[in-house]
């Protein structure tokens, strides 16, 4: 019984969007009764309601996080001061963000800016910039001529890297033909080869992946929507 309800609910959840996609644009919402109200006109309201219902879930994460860290603080686990910092940061950010929106004041805004522009944002972009370092160490470690695949990947990466910096381009700048001519060897310049790999090989391979992925996503969508999916989460009797 419960299982049937849930299968039905899953189906209904997706039905509107599916019908909205499949039915022609002029379809009225309720046939014969409301010729002026189109089926697709309801999309905004339905979207709004589902959005609101969804957002109620946000506090679930907060509840769990507070339980975890309050527990750590009360039991004085090692590193409990970090939990204090976490909860303080949470409370401060939440308060000042709301204050900024609903009761702006000079110093309130300044503190919000301290928390957001001078802590949150820089930490964010610094973590992101760690990638520059990781990139270097990953390339050094991984690009060895151990297998054909690794060698191909390394070779292409080297060409692309050389082709996008001025010094690399200088290496093959001698291959340029005279002004206005386009001899065959001018196609061997690094930036041209790079363009070729990016434009033809890479685009084509990406498109191949995309086609496969669309079909895969299609099948999975269908399976979940029609409750055909199997696996621990999907077929346990309730």
């Amino acid at each position: 019984m419960r299982r049937t309800i849930i299968i039905l609910i899953t189906f209904i959840g997706g039905l509107y969007y599916f019908l909205n996609f499949v039915l022609p644009q002029e379809t009225p919402l309720v046939p014969f009764l409301t010729p002026d109200i189109k089926f697709s006109d309801a999309i905004e309201e339905i979207g709004r309601v589902t959005l609101v219902i969804g957002v109620f879930a946000i506090f679930l994460g907060v509840i769990n996080l507070s339980r975890l860290h309050l527990g750590r603080i009360s039991r004085r686990r090692p590193g409990w001061y970090n939990s204090v910092a976490l909860l303080t940061a949470f409370a401060a950010m939440f308060t000042f963000q709301l204050l900024k929106t609903y009761a702006p004041s000079e110093w309130g805004d300044k503190f919000q800016s301290l928390l957001f522009d001078h802590m949150y944002a820089p930490i964010n972009s610094t973590i992101m910039s760690l990638l520059a370092f990781y990139m270097a160490s990953a390339a050094y470690r991984a690009f060895r001529i151990k297998s054909g695949e690794a060698a191909v990947m390394m070779f292409i990466a080297l060409i692309v890297m050389l082709g996008q910096i001025p010094i690399g381009q200088l290496l093959t700048s001698g291959l340029k033909g005279a002004e206005g001519t386009n001899p065959w060897y001018s196609y061997l310049r690094l930036e041209v080869v790079r363009e070729w790999f990016m434009g033809v090989w890479n685009s084509a391979a990406q498109r191949g992946i995309l086609f496969g992925m669309v079909i895969g996503a299609f099948a999975l969508t269908l399976r979940i929507w029609l409750s055909l999916e199997r696996g621990s989460f999907f077929d346990r009797e309730l």
Binding site: G61, A138, G212
Partner: protein, 257 residues
Amino acid sequence: MHATYTMLVLTVGFCGPIIYFILAARRGKGFYIRPIAGISAISEAIGRATEMGRPVLYCAGLSTLDIDGLCSMAILGQIAKMTARYNLRILVPMSDYLLYPIAEEAVREAYAAEGKLDLFDEKDMIYVPNQFPFAAACVGMMHREKVAANFFFGYFAAESLILAEAGNQIGAIQIAGTTATTQIPFFITSCDYTIIGEEYYAATAYLTREPTMLGSLVGQDVGKITITAFAIIGTVFALLAALALMKTNWFLEILER
């Protein structure tokens, strides 16, 4: 967006075989499926974590409630089932508030199905919104809990390499699968196994080995054959049009209707 006629025909053309083969599989028809090493390696990774007696980390990246995220949750359910079987902890940081309850439910279900509900701890599931705080939290967790295996399944953006390199530093065995093709190179360089593109959607079928799911894979192959046929026919027509053997490329015109 509303479907054009081509889209409707294609929808039927894609869905039809999938449903047909699922039904055929349910009637007991067996299918051959080629192995995907990355997916077979999942149990190897969990075995290693069991030997070391350390937790595993499952990371769904920035997935939201779309098809990538749902697929990730289905895989999480399967992996959690294995960790439950071997009495392991599974750490699941989540970045999306809608997927967070789903993930919790999936892990709880998995532990309940194995009769190990007492091992399940909600505190191992944490909610950390936004890309880089999420990455920082994952990296911190890896270092502190000394995880033995990392699973990255879902949608990833720039944080992919941060996560994979951090896992590499602590020497965890790492398996990744994502639909974000731009991130695959970084997983390839830093992870032990990488599952690419459509293989990701096929993962649950491989893990469950349910006939229904295998049937769906066969149906997907029919879809891909259709696309291949389209591409070849389209190219032939484009060639005919370019050589002026045809006045108009009516194949293209039909498609664009």
